[in-house]
Subunit: 215 residues, 2 copies
C-alpha cells in the first residue's frame, strides 16, 4: 500500500507558502492550504495552489464548525479537491458539508480536540461518512500528548467503518514518527507533515526523505 504525503502549509504568509510548495511539490501528493494561511490570505490561496499545481490534490483546511454546505462550497469553488470539517462540529454541519460535495470533491473529517472514545461515538452517530478522516493531534498539544494513542485509533476506525474511509494522521509528524508509522500493522492512507518540512533548513531534502520512508 502506497501512503500519500500531504504537506500542511500553515504559515500565514502566501509568498513563503508558495516558495515551499514549489521546492517540495515533486514529493507531495496533497498540498494543504492551512487554516491560519486561509484566514490571513483568504481562500484565494487555494485558487493559487490549484493554478500552479493542477495535477496535485489541493486540500483547504477550513476546519468548518458551522454552515457546512456554505463553507464547503466556498472551498470547492476556490478549487479545493478536499475540504475539512471538524468532527466536533454539530452533525447537521458535517452532513450538510458531505451532501454538498459533488463529483470529485471530498470532505475530510478532522478529529482535533477529541479523544479516542469521543471519536468513535461521534463517527457512530453519523448516518453518512465522508471518504477521509484525519486523526489529528493539535500543534498546541505536541508537548503534552504522545502520538501513540492517536495511531492506535487507526485500527478501531478501520473496523468501525469497514475499511471504507481513508485515514490521515497529523500532529507534528517528522521522519522519526513516519518510521514509527511504517512499523504499524494497520497504517494510515495519508501522512500529513507540516513544520518538519516547512521549518527545515532544506525543505526539499526532508520532503524527499519522508516520501521515501512512506514507500
Amino acid at each position: 500500500m502506497k501512503i500519500q504525503l500531504q504537506l500542511a502549509l500553515d504559515m500565514p504568509n502566501k509568498k513563503k507558502a508558495i516558495k515551499i510548495a514549489n521546492q517540495t511539490a515533486k514529493f507531495i501528493d496533497i498540498i494543504e492550504a492551512g487554516t491560519p494561511l486561509i484566514k490571513e490570505e483568504s481562500l484565494h490561496i487555494v485558487k493559487t495552489f490549484k493554478k500552479r499545481f493542477p495535477k496535485k490534490k489541493i486540500l483547504a483546511d477550513m476546519k468548518t464548525m458551522d454552515v457546512g454546505a456554505l463553507e464547503a462550497k466556498l472551498a470547492f469553488d476556490a478549487g479545493a479537491d478536499i475540504t475539512t470539517v471538524c468532527l466536533s462540529a454539530p452533525k447537521e454541519t458535517i452532513l450538510s458539508a458531505i451532501n454538498s460535495a459533488k463529483k470529485n470533491k471530498q470532505v475530510m473529517l478532522d478529529t482535533i480536540g477529541l479523544n479516542k472514545k469521543e471519536i468513535l461515538i461521534k463517527l457512530k452517530q453519523l448516518k453518512k461518512r465522508p471518504l477521509y478522516i484525519c486523526l489529528h493531534r493539535a500543534i498546541d498539544e505536541k508537548l503534552h500528548k504522545s502520538i501513540t494513542n492517536l495511531l492506535a485509533c487507526i485500527k478501531d476506525i478501520k473496523r468501525l467503518t469497514k475499511n471504507k474511509v481513508k485515514i490521515a494522521v497529523a500532529g507534528s509528524i517528522n521522519d522519526k514518527i513516519a518510521r514509527q508509522i511504517m512499523a504499524l500493522k494497520e497504517k494510515p492512507d495519508i501522512v500529513i507533515v507540516g513544520s518538519a518540512i516547512t521549518k527545515a533548513k532544506n525543505p526539499e531534502i526532508i520532503a524527499r526523505k519522508i516520501k521515501e520512508i512512506l514507500k
Copy 2:
C-alpha cells in the same frame, strides 16, 4: 443591566457586509466579522471594520481549533478587540490564545457543537477562563434544536464562573427570541443576531427593534 447587541456578518461578501454594517451600526455594540466572511475575504475585513467603525468593538469569529496564540495574534493584529476560540479545541489551544491576549484584547469561547454537560466539564478543566463565553446553537442546527436548552445554561455557567465571565448567546436569534431572553431571570450579557438582521428587507428597522427589546 444593559444587554449588548452583536451583529454577526456571516455572508462571504465584503461589499454586502460593509453595506449592512453601515445601515445598522448605530444600534450595534459589537460588529462581528463572521467565519465564512474571514475565510473568503481574509482578515483584511477586520481591518476594514476597525477603520470604518473605530468606536465599535470588532469581533473576529476565528473559531480557532489549533495554534491558539498564532490565530489570536493574527486577529488582534488585524484590529480585532475580541477573537473566538472553540471550547471544543484542545485546552492547550484555548489557554495559549487567552495568554496571548494583551491589554484591551479579549478571547470569547464558543460552545458550538457541545451540549450542556460537555460545556460545564470543559469549563471546569480550564485553569484560566476568558472574559467571554458564547453559548452557540449552530446555524445548521436551527431546524433540529430548540434554543431553550441553551438559554438554560446561562444560570449554570454564571454559577460555575462566579459571575466572572460575560455570556453571549447566538443561534438564529430574532426579535421573538430576544423577547424570550428578556423574560429570563438570568440574562446573557450579549445577544448575537445574524440573519434576522442581515437577511431582513430593511436591516436598520430590525436592528433598532431588537436593540429596543434588549433595553
